[in-house]
Symmetry: C2
């Protein structure tokens, strides 16, 4: 209306789009701000959808953070739903928009344009994918459709994809009493995690009644005779299903941008600089449609996460409305997931990623209680640290267990962001009181173990390498008490309790490799030092002891 | 025995002493290590004592982490209890030790000596302090004596001192149904915290039935006629007491060291360098008897905390047994406390400390949920950030509320240690999933609010300054809904709900200072921007809204 008013047009109304709109308003009270979305819902909590399915979140409305009228009344922002952006004309600074209710087409002018078009769920081109009762879980509408299906009390579900959303969906379905099978093509679930960590998630899910098939390909869906899915055919056979959830991943919505000449990055998402600018002047991108930078490697990555969407939306708005001084260096791929009673979190590079990039690295697996062992509710967590050997910088971490994992992973994400060495992590002054932590927090203990390892004080054997070592003749020496050994022990291990080790030394063949095992690795370390002093040479510790052993024991 | 063996003698057997002994053994398998202590218990969890009193921890033995025989068997470390070190002879490298059971005196030689003599509870020289039923809470014996008293079902208790231990003791006593009064000389409890934070602890303790008297001096104890305390006489009158707990603070045990010429620092604790060396060659100090350095100011401080004791003990051992390369830069005074359902944590400098040191600083008080608002168990926490204006570095933080506070304070402790600016904190890639956090975590939201304030986007009024401003004529404008205002509002405020503000603008006197209030400050910020645009000039936001308002409302 006002000819002097600068016009900001935002395409996309979930996390990045609405965040950018609200922030732009606060930065510039005079901007004319319009958000268009082809969806009927805006500003919803995408990450809450699995919990809505499971009934942890009861009402659809709890997922809807804000409504179009809130934006109008509180912030003088126009939000238009059911509006599909069909084409961007960068020369004319126009977007051609179709009103999905009326079919009307119109041109919307802009001075600044923000693409916040998000991502869409991948649907593999499988036979039968058009059948009924095959759901994705990306939008509130998706979730409501699946929720509707659940009212018919289905008994068997197949979740295709063992990533974060797939496993959260599987947990929530299993909690409803539905027999749930997860099918994952990769060798383990939670592909961003390392296998020695992810196997614990599989074990825990199985213990809670969820079937897990890894290394398994889905081939097609069969018809139950009523145009609905009846079974999922996989490389491991047919699995009966009253419904299926497709959670094989998402791809960025970039077509609209690509067609008008906006450059994509190597990940397939929209390339942006640190100010969230695309290659076309006055066009920005934020949220799941935009590419990210990995803070450690400086390389392009794509982390479609709600937390990143909020931050990139805010930075875009600061630069659009506030003069251009705000920058975002990158992200670490930090993530956390709750699966029944097991929590898993990661930040930075996984061991697999770091090895693929030829980092000279060291890793440790260190179990420790999450709070004072004598305080009620104390639970074990296991910290995996990945450190670059030469400069001793922390490259990545994974923390898992029934205790608190988000705190240590956030401490480590902060440390990695600020370039900390493992030595600096070991000296952090973290908050201690019995209800919250141990005097030496799990993170500090893990850093100390890493420092010992970097100094060559001990050699570790990763549990994934154990079988190969034992096949090659290594002795697995379990120095726990007879009672502990009786309750649970690794097949093929021999038990000499620590207290009797000195009198039973002759049972150990010095010519052989000896891998020492206990509950968490601490007694193993003391034993290794003792045996070393006695002239044993080929010694190592089973990292993380029986606590970190990721395989099922019969 | 073996003449070549180097002898390490450690005086003190709680946290630092036992930690150093165990670490020294792992670093040097050949060292002859002896720990002496005059106490009968070693390696106990001092921070767990209040919870033992309250029955959260049931058995005394749960507090005892290790026993002398464990050290002998597992680590070849000699631990001698009931041994009092009477004199150090640094020239002769001897310690004169008295056996408290036999009375025998002997000389113990050392090559390296570690003082880990800890701290003792202050007992002010008040009349009646020798009466029965006046307890301190420093050792397992102290706790067991108090626990014994509780078997007689006492009804009224007075806790003298409103610091961490005093308040934890008060909580645990009140939970047992004992009418408990806390007396604190300072103007507020939890003296290391700022008043705008600590007042929330007082409010919460009162809501849970604990009486709190601040700014109150204890004058003497009166006799109940049986040689036991009957009442505590204070500047606020006599308070009946079946028993009293003295928790007015601790002082470092330095006499033994001082007498042989070991230098003390300005705090009265033993001066040590970064390697934990004292001024006398081959004598080290660690744990509560040793002075610390504040990481931010570089100045000597004294933080007698179990977490620090473990770290200083370890560094001392690394230098004693491992060649001297380990250093400790300092601590932040990080602390956390649970009081009923309220958690409070701090790290770095308080506002009061920073102002006393003439830092040019800015503060914010920012409420936010600790996890997704729609996820069950989501609770509010309030973050206070203290930032140096010029270089934008975070100097300190305090976080409190019914939600998780140890995670944000540890993130901020890590950030402060590594020299982070508030801008860096705002961009941290922290773990997000609905059960653990919000998409923009509370810490990031607080950092963003601070950035807005540093940019001059708004002026804040601290709740502690509100009364003075209102007395000077300021209007407190509450823009919440009528329902919210009805439930709880600050006396003297006027209510114009945000939706009606535009039509009721004439009710606001533009000549007056206007302080805007809402629930957490967010709507206030949007309102301030709106009113500013309409030409209002003298505007500010009540920091943290009604959520951070620390005074009781009738």
């Amino acid at each position: 209306m006002n000819p002097q008013k600068q016009k900001l047009l935002i395409i996309g109304g979930v996390a990045a789009g609405t965040k950018a709109a609200a922030r732009a308003r606060r930065v510039d009270p005079d901007l004319e701000i319009t958000v268009i979305t082809k969806d009927q819902h805006i500003s919803y909590a995408g990450c809450g959808l699995p919990y809505y399915i499971g009934g942890v979140i009861r009402e659809e409305k709890e997922l809807l953070v804000k409504h179009p009228e809130d934006f109008q009344v509180d912030m003088d922002i126009k939000v238009l739903t059911l509006q599909e952006a069909q084409k961007i004309l960068p020369e004319e600074k126009l977007v051609i928009v179709k009103d999905l209710s009326s079919g009307e087409i119109r041109n919307m002018p802009y001075d600044k344009l923000l693409l916040a078009t998000g991502a869409y769920p991948l649907v593999p081109p499988l036979d039968g994918r058009e059948l009924g009762n095959i759901f994705t879980l990306r939008t509130v509408s998706d979730a409501s459709a699946l929720k509707e299906k659940l009212h018919g009390n289905p008994r068997e579900a197949v979740v295709i994809g063992g990533g974060l959303i797939g496993l959260e969906a599987a947990e929530n379905l299993a909690r409803l009493g539905i027999k749930t099978t997860v099918i994952e093509l990769a060798p383990h679930v939670l592909p961003p995690f390392d296998r020695d960590v992810a196997l614990h998630a599989e074990k825990h899910l199985r213990e809670n009644g969820v079937e897990i098939l890894t290394g398994t390909a889905v081939k097609s869906f069969t018809d139950n005779g009523q145009g609905e899915v009846g079974a999922v055919l996989t490389s491991a056979g047919a699995i009966k299903a009253d419904f299926a959830v497709l959670a094989v991943g998402v791809r960025p919505n970039v077509e609209l941008g690509r067609q008008c000449g906006i450059a994509l990055g190597p990940t397939g998402a929209i390339a942006v600089n640190k100010k969230m600018e695309t290659n076309i002047k006055d066009i920005y991108a934020a949220g799941d449609c935009a590419e990210n930078t990995n803070l450690i490697t400086g390389k392009p990555v794509w982390y479609p996460m709600g937390s990143n969407a909020n931050k990139t939306g805010r930075v875009a708005a600061n630069n659009i409305a506030g003069g251009g001084g705000d920058t975002l260096e990158g992200f670490l791929g930090t993530a956390v997931v709750k699966l029944f009673d097991l929590n898993l979190a990661k930040t930075g590079l996984s061991e697999r990623e770091a090895r693929a990039m030829d980092y000279d690295l060291e890793t440790v697996l260190v179990p420790a209680p999450d709070r004072a062992h004598y305080y009620p509710g104390s639970r074990q967590i296991i910290t995996k640290l990945i450190v670059e050997r030469q400069n001793r910088r922390v490259l990545g971490a994974q923390v898992f267990g029934e205790g608190t994992v988000d705190k240590p992973i956030d401490i480590l994400a902060t440390a990695i962001t600020l370039g900390a060495t493992v030595d600096q992590v070991a000296k952090l002054d973290l908050a201690y009181a019995p209800p919250f932590s141990t005097a030496m927090s799990s993170t500090i203990v893990a850093a100390n173990v890493m420092m010992n390892k970097l100094q060559g004080k001990f050699k570790g054997t990763n549990p994934l390498a154990l079988k190969e070592r034992m096949d090659a003749g290594a002795i697995l020496l379990d120095i726990r008490t007879e009672e502990e050994f009786f309750v649970r022990s690794i097949p093929g291990s021999i038990n000499i309790p620590l207290g009797r080790l000195m009198s039973r030394l002759d049972e150990l063949d010095r010519a052989k490799e000896i891998i020492i095992n206990c509950k968490v690795g601490f007694r193993s370390y003391n034993t290794l030092l003792k045996l070393k002093k006695l002239g044993f040479e080929n010694l190592s510790i089973l990292e993380g002891g029986i606590s970190a052993y990721p395989f099922e024991i019969e």
